[in-house]
């Protein structure tokens, strides 16, 4: 649907603006979201019209047949009524129209449903997304296992390509939702859900867990970065590399603190001995835009605050506070910043 009627309809729906945004189904950036948005505008138009008609009929009835308060006559015989037949015809016609509209909606919905769920090509890029309380594990599958890429809370996809997403959850039910690209799909423990997404223009789209999953359901978001295929390939290649060797003493010390301290009990950095899997993989932490599943921007200051006191930003999350002497913290931060 083009932008013009969109805007017009938005005004019609008394919308208060806001058809744009990184997490907005009305700012569709992929064919599926586009299809659904089209359905939305059609349904909105028709249902708004029906609602206006109903309310108008009610208002007219009120206006026509109201009795002034002083002329109120609540007792005694009600007025005899003789218009059953014409009323019957009107009601029957309305019901008929309702049935017709609903029938049309149903068929239309079926058709779009088939389009939205059409199976992706076999050789499509495949991403495994695992929802954890409260972060997203992302794995780019490759038939050559040594080219598998593991990252967290951030998904890069090439523009104009269908991307298969395999969804699973090891703990509770989550729901994967990037409104600008597609509707949501639940991650149900014990089952694997497969669907696909596609972006038709580059951009960053925010996604969020849409099924209530506990304390930090509110802070379980992620970003989908749609890039031109070349940029995407470059990113993927970069992600395939292990973490770089620390360039200087400070960062070397930071790495040692990481791999010997509590960090390595939960996190992994490829290229070091830290290979735990209970927290997000941090191999390319510095290349991400946010930390803590979209809770904080990825800056040195936020990172330090997050490491020292994660529970005040995201109460209940699984990361314990880490008490480090300031010098050690600086070294650790310096090292983490090298993880491009």
């Amino acid at each position: 649907m083009s932008a013009k009627p969109r805007a017009a309809l938005a005004a019609l729906a008394l919308s208060l603006g806001g058809c744009e945004g990184p997490q907005n189904m009305l700012d569709s950036s992929g064919p599926q979201a586009d299809t659904i948005e089209g359905l939305w505008w059609v349904m909105l138009t028709v249902t708004s019209a029906v609602w206006f008609l109903v309310v108008a009929a009610m208002l007219v009835a009120i206006w026509r047949r109201r009795v002034r308060a002083e002329a109120l006559e609540l007792s005694g015989e009600p007025k005899p009524h003789r218009r059953e037949r014409s009323l019957g015809i009107a009601v029957a016609a309305s019901v008929g129209l309702t049935v017709a509209i609903l029938f049309a909606f149903t068929i239309y919905s079926f058709v779009l449903e088939r389009r939205v769920f059409a199976a992706p090509p076999k050789d499509a890029l495949e991403i495994q997304v695992t929802g954890h309380q409260w972060w997203w594990q992302v794995r780019y599958v490759h038939k050559d296992p040594s080219k598998i890429v593991e990252t967290a809370n951030e998904i890069h996809i090439p523009v104009g390509q269908k991307v298969t997403v395999r969804l699973s959850s090891p703990d509770v039910i989550h729901s994967f939702w990037v409104p600008n690209l597609h509707g949501k799909r639940d991650l149900i423990p014990g089952q694997e859900a497969i669907f696909w997404i596609e972006a038709d223009r580059p951009g960053s789209y925010r996604g969020q867990c849409a099924e209530f999953c506990g304390w930090q359901h509110a802070h379980m978001s992620f970003w989908v970065h749609a890039e031109e295929p070349e940029a995407f390939q470059a990113w993927l290649e970069q992600q395939r590399r292990p973490a770089p060797e620390p360039p200087d003493d400070l960062t070397r010390r930071g790495r040692d603190i990481f791999v010997t301290g509590p960090c390595a009990m939960c996190h992994a950095i490829s290229g070091t001995t830290a290979s735990a899997r209970f927290g997000p993989d941090l191999t390319h932490l510095a290349s991400r835009t946010t930390i803590a599943a979209g809770t904080l921007p990825n800056t040195r200051g936020h990172l330090a605050a997050w490491i020292a006191d994660p529970q005040s930003y995201k109460p209940g999350n699984r990361m314990p506070p880490t008490f480090l002497p300031p010098a050690d913290m600086q070294a650790l931060l310096a090292y983490l910043e090298t993880l491009r």
Partner: protein, 628 residues
Amino acid sequence: MSDDVLRPMEEREAAAKLTGAWHEGEGILAWLSATGHKTTGRRFVLTSFGFFIAAGVLAVLMRLQLAVPENDLIGPDLYNQIFSVHGTAMMFLFAVPVMQGVAIYLVPLMVGAREIAFPRLAAFALWMLLFGGLLLFVSLLLDMGAEAGWFAYVPLSGPEYSPGKRSDVYAQTITFSEISAIAAAVCLITTILKMRAPGMSLNRMPLFVWASLVTAFMILFAMPSVMMASTFLIMDRLIGTHFFNPAEGGDPLLWQHLFWFFGHPEVYIIFIPALGMVSHIVEAFARRPVFGYVPMVLSLAATAFLGFGLWVHHMFASNVPQLGASFFTAASMMIAIPSGIQIFCWLATLWDGRLVIRTPLLFVFGFIFTFVIGGMTGVMLAAVPLDLQVHDTYFVVAHFHYVLIGGAVLPLFGALYYWIPKVTGRMLDERLGQLNFWLMAIGVNLTFFPMHQLGLEGMTRRVYTYPPEMGWDRLNLIATVGGVLVALSVLLFLFNLLRSLSVGRLAGPDPWGSPGLEWATSSPPPEFNFALPPVVTGRSPLWEAGEEWPVVTGLKLDQREVLITSVLDAEPDHRTEFPEPSIWPFLAAIAVGLTFIGSIFTPWAVVAGSVPVAITLIGWFWPKPGEE
């Protein structure tokens, strides 16, 4: 006929004798033993209204937390409990029981009966409701409130992810309220089918009675599903069964199927009685019988029937097969048809009537205005692709509040304004009533309309806060203001009610000039409802009555004797004596309640509790010593 004209003297004598037989007595013991349907019904409504207010306070707290982004008024743990208890209380402790309470009060009056069938069972239902609600709210105060949402999806509510006793409290609250609802439904069904006034054949039954009948049947068939589900849940949590453990062959989706097989009909259980209320109000204030009685009744039945066939539309985002999803889309679209029929019939009635605009009718206008929006968004949600986008967002929050507030709460308030004069004998203040309406109507729309937009903009449900950069703050603030307005409107209603009790205008038997049998007796009605039970000859008895008012004679006046009639045509069949008030239902409810609450802490409570439960039930059914 004229030979049988009764003298006023006879009526008064009869009333005196009947008072002796039906009086409920004084004192605490008598108070706890009271089983009369008006007492029970009033208490039902008051109890559930109390829970409504408590849950409403929670709603305001939530709105305050969400008024600004990254608010730290309420942390995630408390917020989760608050919205879970809000939802659970509103659905299980307010919406269903308040409708049942109104029905327990009104149905016997509307069908011209002296009493509800199985009055002790109805009293038991009341106590179960009260104890269940107390359990839920006291637990919340103890930091033990339900925390996994009102639909408590496993595994989040399961043994691994909900430690402590919070979800057990949720599961047992459900059990309490389901037992209450089922018991009340059995009473209502029997009353409606077997205790109607002679001549009130099925096709002359008032629409609210029809709605209550349909609802009661829905309760019988829907509630067992959630009872089994909550039993499975609590067994998973307490004795280690594996119904929902995907590792050992269970399935989290089993919960969703069971829950929504109940949960969707639940919406209609709440909303069908409201449709009945609307019909009565429209009829009274449009001054003509509702247009299309037969289509109305058929629509109610069709809604109930279809209501069982679309539970999966709550699960489109889970792994349900494509074909199944399509079926449920069609069913969900179809259910809009009976609702449409009813709306059109009311519009026709209004169109043809002479509208006396009073508070109850205003609430009906508000109902049509808001409910149709909820219905329209409901149609949108039925479409799988669109549902995938808006499911679990604030769009859905907006949708179901439009349906439940628009479809049930506004009619309920209209009904309260309409029928409270019958209950208290005094009129509510009309000006305050109109103010109440406008506050509520504006408040509701201000609260929930922006939520549609929020949902489209990506705000998901059940978040305790949201980041400032998302641009959701303005609309949330508006919604919070609206929420406060709704709270004010409810306060205003309470004020109006309390005020009317002392200074309200006396109502008289029929202040609105309504046609139903409930208006054929004094306000408030005597404990035996009708000194001379009426005989019915049409759908609008008081409007159709001529000079003569046919009544039933021959029932014993010194005993609690009631007339049982046949199912279809309400022909007198036999008389039967009803039981005295009794303390046993209260004691049985205590025993059952302690058993349920104890079972949260040890499964042996079920074994230990069975003894007092058995004793109280035997006491309940044991014939009184003096009986023949």
